[in-house]
């Protein structure tokens, strides 16, 4: 961008203005964090409450009534297993697309991308019927298997963008040394694409962790991960604001930590490798 020499106070003003905007984007999450420790009276107060005596009543509530630890464990299991399964399938596919002459490769790449154009709900309705007919309803495995399928197009494209950046000479040298493609993948591509794999893993973990539709449709009761439990706050008699905010903190906190790890790759990840940030 234009390298204009701005005087220091103008620059300070600019930084301050941007900081205020950043604050606006962060504020709702801070409000949730505060809400999780406010008493019911403070939450429903007609005037904004900034200073209050923190209470743990909502945390006790989500522990006693919603068994939050159990669903947290489910969320962890599902997200970790989905991430693993997705990467195991995506890495060879990304390697194949990056390095080998495949018939109609551009068309395949475009189709993989356009799969993401289909709103998941369009496949979830028939999947619901199929899952029930094969008796897989309400199992952790079905959530893992389905989530992995929905994450695969993303994972393949992002990993391919990383593998494309590994100089071809390296795997060509390994091939000349007599390595078969599987060994090249295992010995050179796998270690060299470690940053890509980690980035991809964190994204898939985050998407799966946040996923609501499948989780709300394919499982019930104790098998549910956290996001559908958030919906329990919306009861017929009204909304349980305190527990909702406390649970919100539990759900959001683990992925918030990912932000700092992912910030460098965010633009790239969310455009499936199309934009190198």
């Amino acid at each position: 961008m234009p390298g204009r020499a701005v005087r220091w106070y103008r620059h300070a003003l600019l930084v301050a203005a941007n900081a205020v905007i950043v604050g606006l984007f962060v504020f709702p999450l801070i409000w949730m964090l505060l809400g999780a420790f406010k008493s019911e009276a403070d939450l429903l107060s007609p005037d904004p409450v900034w200073f209050f005596k923190p209470t743990l009543e909502h945390w006790r509530f989500i522990h006693d009534n919603w068994a939050v630890e159990r669903h947290l464990l489910n969320s962890l299991l599902i997200s970790v297993a989905t991430t693993f399964l997705t990467l195991v399938l995506a890495l060879p596919a990304a390697y194949g697309l990056s390095r080998f002459p495949i018939w109609q490769k551009d068309a395949i790449l475009f189709d993989i991308l356009s799969l993401k154009m289909i709103p998941p709900i369009a496949s979830i309705v028939p999947l619901f019927v199929l899952v029930r007919s094969v008796g897989a309803y309400n199992t952790l495995a079905v959530l893992i298997i389905l989530n992995a399928a929905f994450q695969l197009p993303f994972a393949i494209l992002v990993l391919k963008s990383f593998i494309d950046e590994i100089p071809r000479e390296i795997d060509e040298a390994a091939t000349v040394d007599g390595c078969r493609p599987w060994r090249v993948l295992w010995k050179t591509i796998l270690p060299l694409s470690a940053p890509g794999l980690i980035c991809c893993a964190l994204f898939v973990f985050m998407f799966t962790w946040n996923e609501f539709l499948l989780a709300n449709t394919m499982v019930s009761g104790d098998t549910r991960p956290l996001p559908p439990i958030v919906g329990l706050a919306l009861t017929h008699r009204g909304i349980l604001w305190g527990p909702a905010m406390a649970l919100g903190v539990v759900v959001v906190l683990p992925v918030l930590f990912l932000t700092f790890a992912l910030s460098r790759y965010m633009a790239r990840g969310l455009t499936f490798g199309a934009v190198k940030g």
């Binding site: 949730m32 019927v129 932000t259």
Partner: protein
């Protein structure tokens, strides 16, 4: 392949090697493709079949009805309204997010030095679990004790029924979406701005171009492609919007925010009318396909 230089005996192994490589590529790709096909594409075919029947999970007998389900869906006012609401939501949200994201990126790119903490913080809305986002906004937009009305009150403005007034409810879901997704536009545009060649801007400044001229004549034209990419991706995510609106308004009041994904979910998973949900899905897919072709082919090609 340089066929005219070597003799045939030399070409053969080359072709064979190429074929072999192609086979290896296929082996690597196949497991993932089969997996995607079984779990995402096959159900769509099942759904296509269902859309030509009157399949309801609450009714044991299923008949083939041809285009009847489609005719019913197309004649259904709820479906119509849903398409209109979706259209308004998509266009307003994406336009506002694009403009805000671009301005914000411009503003950030003017700062000397990178500000990794600010940048990471602004991404939080993108990472926060959407269901939770819906609940936070439901609390903030509450007309009795929501912080947003408390702010407008203190400014002496009239109290707004954000979620109870149908018009304002639509504004509310756009507002929430803008909060959640402007950072996405911002990030992509910032990446784009940082990749622009500096010398063009320096030359323009030497020639005495004003900031506005530089923006209109240089920055925007150079950014066209990246803006197109951002809009296409945003459109792709926006059409699937579900969790946030499901929690914030559940389509209400009076179906004012009943976006198409909510309609399909309700028909298929609540009313268990799989035929109707499938027909609606395919009508949606056709619309998405047409829009994608226009956006992708025209938008991206023009920008290039």
């Amino acid at each position: 392949m340089t066929a005219h230089t070597g003799d045939k005996a030399q070409i053969r192994p080359q072709i064979r090697r190429r074929n072999k490589a192609a086979w290896y590529g296929a082996y690597f790709l196949l497991p993932a493709l089969v997996y995607i096909f079984t779990i995402i594409i096959y159900p769509l075919f099942y759904s296509l079949y269902a859309s030509f029947t009157d399949l309801r999970l609450t009714f044991p007998v299923t008949r083939f009805v041809g285009f009847d389900t489609y005719a019913q869906t197309l004649g259904n006012d709820v479906f119509h309204d849903s398409i209109i609401v979706t259209g308004i939501f998509l266009v307003t949200a994406i336009v506002v997010e694009t403009i805000l994201g671009f301005l914000l990126a411009l503003s950030f790119s003017r700062m000397t030095g990178t500000h990794p903490v600010m940048r990471a913080l602004i991404m939080l809305p993108l990472i926060a679990t959407p269901v939770t986002v819906g609940l936070i906004w439901k609390l903030m937009l509450n007309s009795d004790f929501g912080i947003i009305n408390q702010l407008t009150d203190s400014l002496g403005l009239a109290r707004i029924l954000w979620l109870a007034d149908p018009k304002m409810a639509l504004v509310s879901i756009v507002l929430m979406d803008v909060w959640q997704w402007t950072p996405f536009m911002f990030l992509i545009m910032l990446a784009g701005l940082e990749g622009l060649p500096r010398d063009v801007f320096e030359a323009a400044e030497v020639d005495g171009a004003s900031a506005l001229q530089i923006l209109r004549r240089i920055t925007v034209p150079l950014m066209k492609r990246i803006i197109a990419v951002a809009v296409v991706f945003r459109f792709m995510f926006a059409i699937a919007t579900f969790d946030t609106v499901f929690v914030l308004t559940k389509g209400g009041p009076a179906r004012a925010t009943d976006i198409i994904t909510l309609f399909i979910q309700r028909e298929g998973l609540v009313n268990l009318n799989v035929a109707s949900a499938s027909a609606a899905s395919f009508l949606l897919l056709i619309m998405v396909l047409v829009l994608t072709l226009i956006l992708f082919k025209r938008g991206l090609a023009d920008a290039r």
